[in-house]
């Protein structure tokens, strides 16, 4: 009896150990990956403006990230505006404050939904493509070939992508803002029977330019985030077609998680900045 009990205890102890060791290893690998991505981003940022210029490459990437995403951004923006304003209308109707539906929707969209949704959508679309493309180039030795030709692959492949994402995301976010708020107006005025003039007047009273700017800055940060993560996983792919698939998957998932985590911190930093700037 005693022996069985002891064995049982040992097994339990071992599995508890295993659990915590696994947790620790996971933690270490996350921290390690985070550091690697930071170093990678730093290196690529340094090459951004070094010679030879990759301006035309960057424009191509901007076209791919921006122009080809605009339809799906517009669609998402429109329906987000519709859904959000309907929910908020129902709530505000209870307390007879339907006049304030406009600014509340606008605030939610400009500061949170537009940058986060733009970031997530573009991360899935363009980020996945970046990781897959760089991964394929890695496993078919094209990145090695670049290196052998004396072309810095980070400067040629990665820097223009990161810069293009950084520049394009605020534009997409602005488009999202515009379409979402007009979608909201459409619903509020035509279906819910609010007055158009009051809708815009209240928005003008309550929304400041800095609210819109906050969203645009956040989207730029998300642009760097997803492009750096996806390029890094693609750049260091190994193991053939299977490796490319895994890298793409990992790149997209990690970008999405980091966008949502960073969203909280960047909002606070920007708010802090505005508070300090106003106080001075």
């Amino acid at each position: 009896m005693m022996k069985v009990w002891l064995e049982y205890r040992q097994r339990v102890n071992a599995s508890i150990d295993e659990f915590f060791i696994g947790l620790y290893e996971k933690f270490v690998s996350v921290v390690y990956g985070f550091g690697q991505t930071l170093v990678f981003t730093h290196q690529c940022a340094r090459y951004m403006f070094s010679k030879p210029s990759r301006f035309s490459n960057m424009i191509q990437h901007m076209h791919f990230i921006g122009n080809d995403s605009i339809i799906i951004i517009a669609l998402t923006g429109c329906f987000t505006g519709l859904a959000l304003s309907y929910q908020i209308y129902i709530g505000f109707n209870l307390v007879n404050a339907t006049n304030l539906v406009g600014p509340t929707v606008a605030l939610g969209i400009f500061k949170e939904l537009a940058p986060v949704l733009t970031g997530l959508i573009v991360a899935a679309r363009a980020g996945g493509a970046m990781a897959a493309q760089l991964g394929t180039m890695r496993v078919s030795e094209q990145i090695d070939a670049l290196e052998v030709m004396g072309v810095n692959p980070k400067q040629y492949l990665v820097s223009p992508r990161i810069l293009a994402s950084f520049l394009t995301l605020p534009l997409l976010c602005g488009a999202f803002d515009f379409i979402a708020i007009h979608g909201s107006e459409l619903l509020c005025v035509n279906v819910l029977g609010l007055d158009s003039a009051i809708f815009w007047d209240k928005i003008e009273t309550w929304i400041e330019p800095k609210d819109i700017i906050e969203g645009l800055i956040k989207s730029a940060v998300f642009g760097i985030t997803f492009s750096a993560i996806c390029c890094k996983t693609g750049f260091y792919t190994s193991g053939g077609a299977k490796g490319v698939g895994e890298a793409t998957n990992r790149g997209v998932v990690n970008s999405m998680v980091w966008i949502i985590i960073l969203n909280f911190f960047v909002s606070n930093i920007i708010r802090m900045y505005f508070t300090i700037a106003e106080a001075l």
């Binding site: 030879p52 394929t136 180039m137 078919s140 030795e141 094209q142 090695d144 070939a145 290196e147 052998v148 030709m149 004396g150 072309v151 810095n152």
Partner: protein, 252 residues
């Protein structure tokens, strides 16, 4: 005789030291000569030349090129060095978003932009024709080419900058006998045309090795089995090498 590449006690393991692909290679590759590296499939020939190019870091040992250790060079110095090197990859490694001609023009655009567009195009076309490509294929994408054609485009791209160190990883595998001879001749004529050129050719084809090689290195299981002139190889007493040599020569 001066050395272009000097490899001392090079060891490489991909799995943290359990199995070694290269097990202590000592090798001197002379300048101004065509060196042919032969050996069975999977002995680590491609891995060895990737060390010479600095694409793989050695687990231990050193690789020195023109008396400079790659490990200790800064990134800019490595790029400088690589401008003097041309490499044909075993699987060609063409850029699949560029057409054939753009692939060959790419190194020129990067390193000799002062030549101007039309001159760069002319050089690229010349190199492609020398490598046996026909003009109708110039605007195709690599995905639309056969394996042998890709290899020839890769060859043209490797030669486009007239590099001092030319490295060919199995330039003729997958080509028919006539093209094989043409490519071998191209390797030789390029070698003679560029002053002070060092050529390193990996090959399975012993006939070609004896025809173009002035210095032959035989690798087996991650070590250098023998290094010498073609004559040395024909006269060797080593049974293992004899077998490889006899088989190779009898095949044709």
């Amino acid at each position: 005789m001066s050395t272009a590449v000097e490899i001392t006690d090079l060891r490489k393991s991909f799995d943290g030291g359990n199995t070694f692909i290269l097990k202590g290679i000592n090798l001197q590759i002379p300048k101004d000569k065509v060196t042919v590296i032969i050996g069975f499939s999977g002995t680590g020939k491609s891995v060895l030349i990737k060390h010479i190019l600095g694409l793989i870091e050695p687990t231990s040992g050193s690789v020195r090129i023109f008396d400079h250790e790659i490990k200790h060079m800064s990134e800019d110095e490595v790029i400088q060095l690589r401008c003097k090197m041309g490499m044909l990859f075993q699987h060609a490694a063409l850029f699949d978003d560029m057409t054939v001609i753009e692939n060959v023009m790419f190194p020129l655009k990067e390193h000799r932009p002062e030549l101007g567009k039309s001159e760069i195009r002319r050089i690229a076309e010349e190199k492609l024709i020398q490598s046996g490509m026909e003009e109708i294929h110039f605007n195709k994408l690599p995905a639309e080419l056969s394996g042998g054609m890709r290899k020839r485009v890769g060859l043209a791209r490797a030669l486009s900058l007239d590099p001092e160190i030319l490295i060919y990883d199995e330039p003729t595998t997958g080509l028919d006998p006539i093209l094989t001879e043409m490519v071998d001749d191209l390797i030789l004529s390029t070698h003679r045309r560029i002053e002070g050129a060092t050529s390193i050719v990996i090959s399975h084809d012993l006939n070609a090795a004896f025809r173009i090689g002035e210095n032959i290195v035989m690798l087996d299981k991650g070590t250098v089995l023998m290094q010498g002139t073609p004559q040395d190889f024909l006269n060797t007493d080593n049974k293992f090498i004899r077998r490889f040599v006899d088989k190779g020569i009898r095949r044709e």
